[in-house]
Amino acid sequence: MPILEVKDIEKRFGLLQVLQNISFSLEKGETIAIIGSSGSGKTTLLRCLNFLERPDKGRIIVNSEVIFDAADPSTQRENEVREKRLHFGLVFQNFNLFPQYTVLKNVTLALELLANKRPDYKQRKKAIQVEIQDRARALLSQVGLSDKLDYYPHMISGGQQQRVAIARALALEPDILCFDEPTSALDPELTGEVLKVIRELAERNTTMIIVTHEMDFARDVADRVIFMDEGVIVERGSPQEVFGNPKEERTRQFLTRYNQK
């Protein structure tokens, strides 16, 4: 049974059709890479999954529960959306760390705010806070930043900031972790450290959707690859199929252009 089913998603911005007929599913522990040129709708798709955009049509199903149905406004209520979006985590292209908080606090903040609502919070306040701190420290050590806990975002490199952002997203234990071009804002020499962290997550069977321009990385890490162009899924398959033996002309053109660079 798939952990995520996306059914027939459509999205328009005014007259511009950004997504059309998008359907795919994702198994637990699987990594999907979404590739395609700029403007192909990849990012909008991720934003739809994370409720940052509202699809005009279609359904999103997580663990057999319909968490979004464009035809059913009761799935779109603000309060419920806030809980349902926690099925997903999102790592942004521009990191979007909170500048006024330390690395550690960036990771703990959302956990602390959510813990406030736990029924046992008042009695176990101390213990819960210790738990949260420990979890954040463990995650930051997992991404190799144990020595930067008390630094502020502007004091560390872009690659380090992105690794903090990954730890921050992992802290809420999302079912599906989404990456929106996680290395596009980084200098080439910094992309490696971020890709390494994502690769380790894949080895731990984290369920992930990765929008990326790093073709070699996608080929290595992804279990399946989706190629998008002009708002539709043009081709999908294993990395061997899509990269090694693309069936569609548009995929071939795209990959040729990439290989020339």
Binding site: N50, F51, L52, R82, E83, R85, L86, F88, G89, L90, F92, N94, N96, L97, F98, P99, Q100, Y101, L109, A110, L113, L114, Y152, P153, H154, R168, A169, L172
Partner: protein, 220 residues
């Protein structure tokens, strides 16, 4: 009567009115300005339109005129409402006029500050399951404050000196007090008032610099 120490103590006493007006205006116009800022950014068009028109009127007319209208208006229009008679009525009316006027100026500074925060900060909060209130108060507000300290500082310093306008509805603030001596041919008290303002603004400038330094630990 014209003893230097007596004059100075009377000047100081009247400067306390300037100080009270300053403190009350600041305490109320800052939060009110935030409310007005939200109004001027409202997604509901009639509210946005109403609030922006109000801000236009208040910023577009002299504070001196607003003081006169607020103080004398209710009586002249024979409204049911009237200010308490005497000194307290004049002071309350002046305070209300100042609060409304400064709230409008602050609201535009706040709006600019809030709109300058990148959308990504809101989105990062959203995907982490935060409420709108949490996003605003835990993530956005401090970044806005850091960005708007210099323009707010400008307004605050202007406010110190604007308090002298309260005399137009007979609040005996420091320049009005000094004027009484000028009428008697004694000019130095008027010059002395400048020192009061200079010192006050000097202290404020140091304070603003301190706040700016305090918020220097992060970058936006």
């Amino acid at each position: 009567m014209n003893d230097v120490s007596v004059i100075i103590s009377r000047l100081t006493e009247s400067f306390l009115l300037n100080c009270r007006l300053f403190a009350l205006t600041l305490a109320f116009s800052l939060p009110l300005g935030l409310v007005i800022a939200f109004g001027s950014m409202s997604r509901f068009q009639p509210i946005r339109w109403l609030v922006r028109t109000f801000v236009w009127v208040i910023r577009g007319t002299p504070l001196m005129l607003q003081l006169i209208i607020i103080y004398y208006g209710p009586g002249l229009l024979s409204m049911a409402f009237s200010w308490p008679s005497g000194i307290s009525g004049r002071f309350v009316a002046a305070t209300v006029a100042f609060i409304i006027n400064y709230a409008c100026y602050f609201s535009e500074i706040f709006r600019g500050g809030i709109e300058s925060i990148p959308q990504g900060q809101y989105e990062a909060g959203q995907v982490l399951g935060m409420t709108k209130m949490q996003i605003f108060f835990r993530i956005i507000l401090l970044q806005v404050i850091k960005r708007i300290i210099p323009p707010v500082g400008n307004e605050v310093i202007t406010l110190v000196k604007d308090t002298a306008l309260a005399r137009i509805i007979s609040n005996k603030e420091i320049i009005m007090m000094a004027g009484e001596y000028t009428n008697k041919g004694l000019i130095w008290p008027l010059f002395a008032t400048g020192i009061y303002f200079l010192v006050f603004v000097g202290v404020l400038t140091l304070l603003l610099g301190w706040v700016e330094k305090k918020l220097g630990y992060f970058r936006v």
